[in-house]
Symmetry: C2
Subunit: 219 residues, 2 copies
Amino acid sequence: MEFQSCFLIWDKLSAAQQRGILDSLAFRQIKRGAVIHNGSMDCTGLLLVKAGQLRAYILSEEGREITIYRLFDRDICLFSASCMLRSAQFDITIEAEKDTDLWVIPAEVYRQIMEESAPVANYTNEIMAARFSEVMWLVEQIMWKSMDRRVAAFLLEEAAIEDGNRLAITHETIAKHLGTHREVVTRMLRYLQGEGMVKLSRGVVEITDWDQLKALGNG
Amino acid sequence: MEFQSCFLIWDKLSAAQQRGILDSLAFRQIKRGAVIHNGSMDCTGLLLVKAGQLRAYILSEEGREITIYRLFDRDICLFSASCMLRSAQFDITIEAEKDTDLWVIPAEVYRQIMEESAPVANYTNEIMAARFSEVMWLVEQIMWKSMDRRVAAFLLEEAAIEDGNRLAITHETIAKHLGTHREVVTRMLRYLQGEGMVKLSRGVVEITDWDQLKALGNG
């Protein structure tokens, strides 16, 4: 799978713009757990995921985390190049949740093309609107949804990503995704186990009653 | 103050684009309290505030509210025209917090111009990035900040908008901005009063100790 086929508006670029991107493009292989982009400390560039999984999160001053969105094959990460958007005033950290192959387009190269190309600017718009929708969904979750439902929804999301009912994930990791404490997650998981929805063992959460878990998580 | 001077990229439009906007533009005078845009029910169009104050908020199924952002003179509301962004999948309600004069650009007219014009698409990008930053700020507030600090921060924001220390605002209204219950706000305000930061009377919150309130709200 080549860059050109992953970058969905490739055909709408001029020959000079295509050359500008290919000349500056970097291919990187990121190990699971590595932090690729760190808040406002750097302007890494636009990331295009070839294969793998990234997580974008924010950090509190006390070091607490909450996942803002996740990126999969062919997804583009805009906010790792937020220096190219004057009005983007927030710090996101991006780490690899799985071994990830990705391309990096330097922010300055992309910004220049975006400035002159309506298709690229509109494409960027659509990516940002999609992320915006995810953050709005998150606001609704943390405002209106009880933590048992959020844990259930997160397990369903994980199961969909992993395509299985046996999730190798710690309570600590779930807590970081949801922006809460490990103890809270443990209490919620024990409640779900008591209701027969999951079975817990060391480092593993196994979904045992999909219908009930869906009723809770999607409710 | 004319539309042309409020619409910051007017000079970057072609004569045909300028004519397209002026021919379809509507000027509206909105009464305080009126709902201008209602979630996904309509695609009102792009709003450009001439003078006044708008509030964008989301609603839970139970009718609870939380303010997402506010718009002032010369601000543009994009998400009242979110039908023009395929990837924008969320419902925002917009109401006038004060009597407001505004212009409405039909979504379809703006979308067509944005599609062909890089300056308009990039301008739209910057507006969205600014709103995105506000929502990210909101996520940080509701995740990491205790309610007494959020109430203090909200009072400081209101005082800056009204340019005074006497705020005519009910506990219920503050609760709707912050996405909490009136009782919680009342408890917090009484705490602030006990600490000498505010003085409460019917429908009025008066700030009496700015330094202490700032230390709390900005902390």
